[in-house]
């Protein structure tokens, strides 16, 4: 029996091409970029913890602003710098795969409560992109942007992959997702009071499924149980959205 190995080879070459930037560029420049990015990230994280974790000064917005400003001042090309930190970009994939672990840890809750946790996640997970899409649709924006909006409430790495598949812009998706998280975590406590939600389970579930990881860290500051439910909301909404959208639009 002869197996045609050409398609397999082509796929392998495609995968290797993704990683090839790691060894084809100037190592000095690469390490400098990695070191600078890492330091800025760690500093803004420190700042965030120091300021009682206010979602408004989220480490990711702060570091992006600092790096953007730095690149502008030093006149370093963004594309070149981005190639310099390819290593971090490549680690996003494995880090996302690791989300299976918190999901596995929360499966008993899902088994016990079933529909009671699924319903809010599905409702929250479909209303948010629907409203977002309706608003950008009526505000007359390009299709690219409309498609990107659909992934707004799922965790960033999944949002980027999904946006890519349905004709959105992955980078834009990352920003929209982070901003959604910040809005959700900032106004979350206020909405919790307004809707008189006193069940920690409900608070966590809503924060996790609408405001993904930023909401989850907010939920964790309420209580560990709340954080556990947020994790469940985050994982399940991420999976549902990432499975459904490409089926509908790809």
């Amino acid at each position: 029996m002869i197996i045609n190995t050409d398609p397999i080879k082509a796929v392998l070459e495609q995968i290797i091409a993704q990683f090839s930037l790691l060894w084809t560029q100037d190592f000095g420049f690469m390490f400098a970029c990695l070191f600078i990015t890492l330091s800025i990230y760690l500093l803004s994280r420190k700042l965030h913890f120091y300021l009682n974790q206010t979602p408004l000064l989220h480490p990711l917005t702060v570091s992006t602003l600092i790096i953007g400003l730095g690149l502008y001042v030093t006149q370093v090309d963004i594309i070149e710098f981005k190639q310099g930190i390819t290593l971090f970009e490549l680690l996003l994939g494995p880090a996302t795969v690791a989300l299976a672990i918190p999901l596995y840890n929360q499966l008993p809750v899902l088994r016990q409560l079933g529909f009671k946790v699924l319903a809010p996640i599905i409702i929250g997970g479909s209303i948010a992109p629907l409203i977002a899409w309706l608003s950008v649709y009526f505000l007359d924006t390009p299709l690219q942007l409309q498609m990107t909006m659909l992934v707004k409430s799922i965790t960033t790495p999944l949002a980027m992959g999904t946006a890519d598949l349905i004709g959105g812009v992955p980078e834009l998706a990352a920003v929209i997702v982070i901003l959604t998280g910040i809005v959700g975590a900032t106004f979350g406590p206020w909405l919790i009071m307004l809707t008189k939600t006193d069940s920690e389970y409900a608070q966590g579930l809503a924060l996790g499924s609408v405001a993904h990881v930023v909401g989850t860290s907010k939920a964790l500051s309420i209580s560990e149980t709340c954080g556990a439910f947020a994790t469940l909301g985050l994982c399940l909404n991420g999976i549902f959205t990432a499975v459904l959208l490409p089926l509908l639009f790809a």
Binding site: I79, I85, P102, Q106, G124, L139, L145, L165, I192, L207
Partner: protein, 136 residues
């Protein structure tokens, strides 16, 4: 200490292999799912088969999950390349994000309160440990 590092490296190698397999499956079978999601399913099935999270995988997943923000920075930085798109449509973006997030969060809170307020401590919630402190 050394034992933990070795475990971490072995665990990372395992997770990385799963990711490579999912990349391969994504391209070869043209599965319409983000490759990382295929990886999540593979790892989840693996964990369900083993019925526990191996220490090595736990050890490497913790820093990966906690610092996912770092791995997102390249994407966030490259949004500067889309500056003109932002400058042109920022009003629409801000309205869409604010409106959809606030309304859907409100509705989800309300629905889940109705469904879950009756559930009082009946469930044993597995409190996931430090893998939660991530911030992206």
């Amino acid at each position: 200490m050394i034992k933990n590092s070795v475990r971490g490296i072995v665990g990372f190698a395992a997770i990385f292999c799963i990711y490579l397999i999912s990349l391969f499956a994504f391209h070869y079978f043209t599965i319409p799912l983000p490759p990382a999601l295929i990886g999540i399913f593979i790892l989840l099935i693996l964990l369900l088969t083993l019925r526990k999270v191996p220490v090595a995988i736990m050890q490497s997943a913790r820093p990966l999950l906690a610092h996912m923000g770092l791995f997102l920075l390249p994407a966030l930085i490259s949004v500067l390349l889309y500056g003109d798109l932002f400058a042109k449509y920022y009003v629409a973006l801000v309205i869409a994000i604010l409106l959809s997030t606030l309304v859907s969060l409100g509705i989800t809170l309300w629905v889940s309160q109705r469904l879950l307020s009756g559930v009082k401590r009946a469930v044993k919630v597995p409190v996931a440990s430090e893998d939660q402190e991530n911030d992206n």
